[in-house]
């Protein structure tokens, strides 16, 4: 299942493991990334907590845990290649994986249609 947040994160749930990243819309807004700070494996986050930071040339932006869980993997490639997030935000540029506490929390997130509507509304401002 693929879901999105208002803060432009995506989440792909396989069983009880969620892979999380930022959306193509987000990477375009941020511009070229120069640094990504990822959580430590084993760290736990509640839904909405700051889990990671992505930095462009100009500024740092926080990435929130879309649902609560424990970090089971982080994308080590991003240390040397933060630009992967720009190039493949939904593929090779994934940020981290959480073992989720409550898969039901994912259902409350935006589906594809709702996210497209959100980005369309934001783009028109």
């Amino acid at each position: 299942m693929l879901r999105y947040t208002q803060d432009h994160e995506w989440l792909r749930l396989d069983g009880d493991v969620a892979t999380i990243g930022i959306t193509p819309f987000a990477q375009k807004q941020l511009g070229d990334l120069v640094f990504v700070e990822l959580p430590s494996v084993g760290a736990s986050f509640d839904k909405g907590a700051v889990a990671a930071t992505v930095e462009s040339v100009k500024a740092a932006s926080e990435v929130y845990a879309p649902i609560g869980g424990e970090v089971v993997a982080v994308n080590d490639k991003l240390t040397a290649e933060p630009g992967l997030v720009n190039a493949e935000p939904t593929g090779e540029g994934w940020l981290f994986r959480l073992k989720v506490k409550d898969a039901g929390e994912a259902g409350a997130l935006l589906d594809e249609a709702a996210y497209q509507a959100l980005t369309a509304a934001e783009e028109s401002h």
Partner: protein, 382 residues
């Protein structure tokens, strides 16, 4: 997302529509709508400028003509010397100098370029300060001087190793110019003022052009395959790598020229014992700091890791010290260096090159090293 805000009334440079046509992302800056980047993005724009030639619209900056009613440029220079640290009288015809407008407390009102145009001086000042600077000059110089903001002129910067070859196609005389030379030249039929200078550390030119001729000149330059349009985002990463100050961040009314490591803007002739010593606001404070040293100093900082350290981050002697010894005033990513770079003010004892300090970033203390600037070699054509 927050509620939609009413669009503030932003001023536009003559190149505004061109920027939009080129796909620029426009942002507010100093009351203007300015391009922060074009579709290629900041990294590519920065690298392109150092590899070939970047074209920047800096028309938001202030261009102010300062003349004496006597018509004598020396009188204009004497007037300006009552407000700046530099030797303005010594600027030869068609040469340019960098100088500082000071406050009565010895701080800095603005940093600016001054060129001698034969019968008057031409000042190029920061966009965010141009209204203040004009009012300041008018308040302090009697009506024996004429201060004329040239609001009908645009300013383009062409920077990079290919800049000379590109501009020479339109104005062959530029090949004879050396760093900090100024010339009046006709380019694409327009009466321009050109200096060989810039804000990137590269060789390049700043071209003052009448507003109505700006688009044609920009398009003529952009027609050269070596030239790409560059936004304010890359302008900032380029100047930071070059170790250049940004007024409002690295310089402000609380920073003296000595603290800012800009003592060189105070030549011998304006120092104690010089023929035209003092006579500028804050001279006593500044000259006593020159003699005894200032309690803090602007330095370059190189983070040891990959994380950028940005403006506002406090600096400490070690991982546990409670009291900061300084603050980062500019920080970001050195794109050519492929590493984060920053500058800030630290206590004089901590200002030694190689000193290891700690910046606090998101609650963690990150090691940074005091480093000489520029972070990337400059290539001025002296």
């Amino acid at each position: 997302m927050s509620e939609p805000q009413p669009t503030p009334e932003l001023r536009r440079t003559p190149l505004h529509d061109l920027h939009v046509r080129l796909g620029a992302r426009m942002v507010p800056f100093a009351g203007y709508a300015m391009p922060v980047q074009y579709p290629d993005g900041i990294l590519k724009e920065h690298l392109h400028t150092r590899a070939a030639a970047g074209l920047f619209d800096v028309s938001h900056m202030g261009q102010v003509a300062l003349a004496a009613r006597t018509g004598n440029v020396a009188d204009a220079a004497r007037g300006l010397e009552t407000l700046v640290t530099g030797d303005m009288l010594g600027i030869a015809p068609w040469r340019q100098r960098y100088t500082l407008l000071t406050t009565t407390a010895g701080g800095v009102y603005d940093d600016l370029m001054v060129s001698n145009h034969g019968d008057r001086l031409m000042l190029v000042v920061n966009a965010s300060r141009k209204d203040f600077d004009t009012a300041h000059l008018r308040a302090h110089l009697s009506d024996a001087w004429v201060i004329e903001p040239l609001t009908d002129r645009a300013l383009l910067a062409l920077q990079g190793p290919a800049a000379e070859q590109v501009l020479a196609e339109l104005a062959p005389d530029v090949t004879a110019m050396r760093f900090m030379d100024a010339r009046a030249l006709t380019i694409c039929g327009a009466a321009c003022f050109v200096t060989r200078s810039g804000y990137t550390g590269e060789d390049g030119f700043e071209i003052s052009v009448p507003g109505e001729a700006a688009v044609a000149l920009a398009e003529a330059l952009l027609a050269d395959p070596s030239v790409a349009p560059i936004g304010l985002g890359a302008r900032d990463s380029l100047r930071l790598e070059a170790g250049l100050c940004l007024y409002g961040s690295d310089l402000d009314e609380t920073t003296t020229p000595v603290e800012a490591a800009l003592e060189w803007t105070l030549p011998k002739v304006r120092r104690a014992g010089g023929a035209r010593a003092t006579g500028f606001p804050g001279a006593q404070v500044i000259l006593s700091q020159l003699a005894q040293g200032a309690s803090r100093r602007r330095v370059g900082l190189k983070p040891e890791g990959r994380a950028p350290v940005r403006a506002g981050a406090p600096l400490f002697a070690d991982e546990r010290a409670a009291a900061p010894l300084g603050t980062v005033t500019s920080g970001g990513f050195g794109v050519s260096l492929n590493a984060p770079v920053a500058m800030g003010y630290v206590s004089r004892e901590s200002a030694a090159t190689g000193m290891r300090l700690f910046a606090e970033v998101r609650g963690k203390r990150l090691a940074v090293t005091v480093a000489d600037m520029p972070f990337w070699p400059t290539r001025y054509r002296r």
